[in-house]
Amino acid sequence: MMKAFQWWWGLLLAFSLLALSRVFLPLPFVIEVVIFSIYTMGCSFLLGRVGFISFGQPAYLAVGAYATASYLFYFGTNPYIGILLGVLAGLTISFIVGPLFVRLRSDYFAMVNLALAVIVFYLTQKVLAGITHGDNGLWFLTTIASTPVLDLSRPSDFFIFAFMVALAVWAFYKYLDDSVYGACCLATKINEDKFKFLGYSNFNIRLLAFVIANTTTALAGAMYAVYLGFVSPEISSPSRAADPVIVTILGGAGTLYGPIFGAFAYTGMKDVISKLIGNWELLIGFFLVLIMLAGEKGIWGTLQPWLEKRLFRKAPALKTTDTSTDGRGARR
């Protein structure tokens, strides 16, 4: 009983804080944070657990968003089916490109992913302009039907929905982390050769991780579409390609609470800075360089050992990330 409680206390604490913040923070801000944290969870998992950096997350975000948007714009009115279709589209696309991408070395992987994001941007902006209406985007806020229990066309109900989805996604990643599969992911990150000798397939583990992470991203895209009621190519713009990576690093890569903390800090920072000056790219870029130079642990990564010491009176958990084992750690 006590063990189960320890397992869940963080979840309860983090999410009750988030629910509490709804009382004294504006609703759009909290919804943005919740969706952004779902968006980042996939990227955080890929970067922190499997060791793949992905600058192509906007591509999968856009796939999810556009699948939902085109359903709501052309065919139906039920937002739940729209979100389901968005997730399915994300699942399909990651199963198509996944086998091609995960075979690559991590440097090639990062580049190919970014190239994919740019391609999706052009695809939605120019090539498929007949369906996606190009830069004008798809507007369907009025066609979203009100559903019986949780009415997604109302922001306050949407918040509860987004909150529950985030909780479910978070619990899922928590479960993954503690499972054998989570350990396998970490093992392929740290030493793929040794892992292969143990009789596992690096390819399968990575493919599954890729699909899981990008389906999560597509889910976030679908939720953006329903929440905003419109989708434009801007969603996969290359200049926003680093957003999830920044948030991941800000919160601490591979940590469970990282995405929530990172999304909170990043959205807040962006809101405040863009109110003060229009040129927020300059500061975001500057902060990013600063964070990278300062270290790689991020907000939660710095807080975690300290909190653990305070709350449980025990030594901090063993460091799971090892930067010197990627085959070139011995250089220089």
Binding site: A115, Y122, K126, A241, N279, E281, F287, T323, D326, R331
Partner: protein, 289 residues
């Protein structure tokens, strides 16, 4: 297809390929020697283009502007290398990618601050048209191709005939041994980074008269330069040259057949080549991740 259209399309592909080559060489060299992915090459490209614009407006000579762009981006590269990259060489590859993306975004902010967001035109330096098989082609495009070939030859001579160049080539194979021979590796890194940065600036300056100069121009070519580097293989200069011309032709001739192909076809070519050879055309399989 119309033969005249095809000829001008091929020439256009050659010139755009030359520009991709000049930019991709920086990425490729930086990866080969320092094991960093330097996305900020796109920033030096934008700086080169903007300095070309400003100098050609002030002095009236575009050639002087291009020269100024080359020097300015070299100085910017030097500053960035000294301030930022020096501290992250021994970190993981992903680290350099995120950091350089931060520099790129930050630099775009600086450019927006100085020059605004309105696209700026740069005049053509020479208006002469050259007739080939009855088709008139702007002479400037030939000059761009010539410059790229000169740069390739110069780089070849530098890498094969000078001590510094030989040290760079040896460093691509094994940095530790080069250091053991008593060569100042840290200075070697700086030299390579400046060469990479100024070549990107040269590409920006040469590209400026052919397009409009705007703050996001670096991000627009980013995908193409990536594809060039990936197809050619990271760290290989010969591969980069060949793949730059392949991508240039695919973009240019592809857009003649069906306009949206210009953006899509290089991606298809890249996937195809990666399917056959996951390290690109000339990429060495020995280089571990």
């Amino acid at each position: 297809m119309d033969a005249q259209l095809l000829i001008s399309g091929v020439i256009f592909g050659l010139s755009i390929g030359s520009i991709f080559f000049l930019m991709a060489i920086g990425l490729s060299l930086c990866f080969g020697l320092m094991r960093i992915i330097s996305l900020d090459q796109m920033l030096y490209y934008s700086i080169g283009a903007y300095v070309t614009y400003s100098l050609s407006l002030v002095t009236g000579s575009v050639w002087l502007g291009i020269l100024g762009g080359l020097v300015a981006s070299g100085i910017a590269a030097f500053a960035v290398e000294r301030l930022v990259f020096r501290r992250i060489y021994e970190r993981e590859l992903t680290f350099s990618m995120i950091t350089s993306f931060g520099i790129l975004i930050c630099g775009i902010g600086v450019i927006k601050f100085f020059w605004g967001v309105v696209p700026r035109p740069v005049p053509m330096p020479i208006e002469v048209q050259i007739g080939i098989l009855g088709t008139d082609v702007p002479a400037y495009r030939f000059i761009v191709v010539g410059v790229a070939i000169l740069v390739y030859l110069g780089l070849w001579l530098f890498l094969n005939r000078t001590i510094a160049g030989k040290a760079i080539r040896a460093g691509i194979e094994d940095v530790e041994h080069v250091e053991g021979l008593g060569i100042n590796v840290s200075r070697l890194f700086t030299i390579t980074f400046i060469i990479a940065g100024s070549l990107s600036g040269l590409a920006g300056g040469l590209h400026a008269p052919l397009i409009m100069v705007d703050p996001m121009m670096g991000l627009e070519v980013l995908a193409f330069v990536f594809m060039v580097v990936i197809i050619g293989g990271l760290g290989s200069i010969k591969g980069t040259l060949i793949s730059a011309f392949i991508v240039g032709q695919v973009v240019s001739v592809g857009s003649l057949i069906y306009a949206p192909l210009a953006q899509m076809a290089p991606f298809a070519v890249m996937l195809l080549i990666l399917l056959i050879k996951p390290t690109g055309l000339y990429g060495s399989a020995l280089l571990k991740r």
